[in-house]
């Protein structure tokens, strides 16, 4: 355990934690777009800037990838930080001024317009790479990555072809801070990154469970019995409760 201060308040953290997760755990409000607790910090969006003072020297840094250190003092908001966050927000917003998620964050930071224009494309992608990291680190599918460089940089499957390693889990689309990863789903199929998956349904109620590929992957990763993936959460809960009731009260409610 180590001790330092955030906005004057003394906090404790484990070695190896970053400033952002400690601050969020203590209820401090720090804006982010590219941060997700289940994957490594990447420092792409630069909105989580804070001021860190250590041995009398202060510096502005991203809190998502700055380690908690004993004795430092962290300031999460002041005029300088606000000004820098607004500038960063303008830079991000110019990638797609019409994107609702970006507009919401801009509103929150007091940015009403961007003075810049990003000419190459306005597809809402801010190149934070969160989709790539969730796919690699959490799912383990490694289906998408950054390709190209400079203004041509974008996220795609290898050769823009349907990816063999994609399991169609939609994690990338769910974590995307600007919600721009497209997918479609009807009663029986789901299509993402140009690949169409069939859908497996709950044997009890028919609710969609996911694709066979993602269920197989999660079964492999968790080591759970295959029958675990036959039913949805709600039906499994019902089964467990019924079994529990049978054991405890002989099937009769007291």
């Amino acid at each position: 355990m180590l001790t330092f201060t955030i906005d004057g308040q003394t906090v404790q953290a484990e070695e190896g934690q970053n400033l952002l997760e400690v601050a969020l755990a203590h209820g401090f409000d720090i804006p982010t777009l590219c941060y997700h607790p289940s994957v490594s910090a990447y420092g792409a969006c630069r909105l989580c800037l804070v001021e860190v003072t250590q041995r009398g020297r202060s510096r502005i840094t991203t809190s998502c990838n700055y380690p908690a250190l004993p004795g430092i003092s962290v300031v999460t908001r002041n005029d300088r930080i606000d000004r820098l966050r607004r500038l960063v927000m303008e830079l991000i917003l110019c990638r797609d001024p019409g994107n609702p998620q970006l507009q919401a964050m801009a509103d929150r930071l007091g940015v009403d317009r961007t003075r810049l224009r990003f000419a190459s494309r306005q597809d809402g992608c801010i190149l934070c790479g969160l989709c790539e990291r969730i796919c690699r680190e959490s799912i383990g599918a490694d289906a998408i990555s950054f390709v190209g460089r400079g203004h041509e940089r974008r996220l795609a499957t290898p050769f823009d072809e349907p990816s063999e390693s994609c399991v169609g889990c939609l994690a990338c689309a769910m974590v995307c801070p600007t919600q721009v990863i497209e997918f479609t789903q009807d009663a029986d199929t789901r299509t993402i990154w140009k690949r169409t998956f069939t859908l497996v349904k709950c044997k009890e109620c028919g609710a969609v469970l996911g694709t066979p590929e993602e269920l197989a992957l999660f079964q492999r990763k968790t080591g759970l019995d295959a029958s675990y993936f036959d039913t949805c959460d709600a039906c499994r809960k019902k089964q467990t409760a019924t079994a529990f009731a049978a054991v405890t009260w002989g099937g009769q409610r007291p």
Binding site: E132, D142, S145, F146, G148, T157, P158, F159, S165
Partner: protein, 155 residues
Amino acid sequence: MELEMVDRIVDRYDARSSALLAILQDIQQEANYLPQAALRQVARRLDIPLTRVVRMATFYAAFSLKPRGRFVCNVCLGTACHVRGAGRVLDQFQRTLGIGVGETTDDGLFTLQTVNCVGACALGPVVVVGEQYHREMNNRKVDRMLKSYRKQAGE
């Protein structure tokens, strides 16, 4: 595409994934570009995700995922070459070859590329063809140079 060539190169580096960049360079050296099948084979042999290979292959301007001509012409557009008329030299290439930057002539002889500095500023405008450096280029020299490469190809 001979995958044995890829295997041979991968073996040269003991299939170490840390040698990915060097492996891609060697493949490009032999095949003149990075064929999709080769990249897939590299990923398989090094036991790394294909995304990691593609990410690197598309990052460096020195790599091409498209087949290139026998003579790859790199017109330097660095500051020194630029002020000495590299733009006109590039125009002359496009006019004479009838292709744009990044394209290859139909006969498969020439690919036109631009580069942002080759570190030979005193010789500007510089054009690098393969391993050969051509100094103080102008329109007349471009035509003469292309003619001599055509002749070389015909032999």
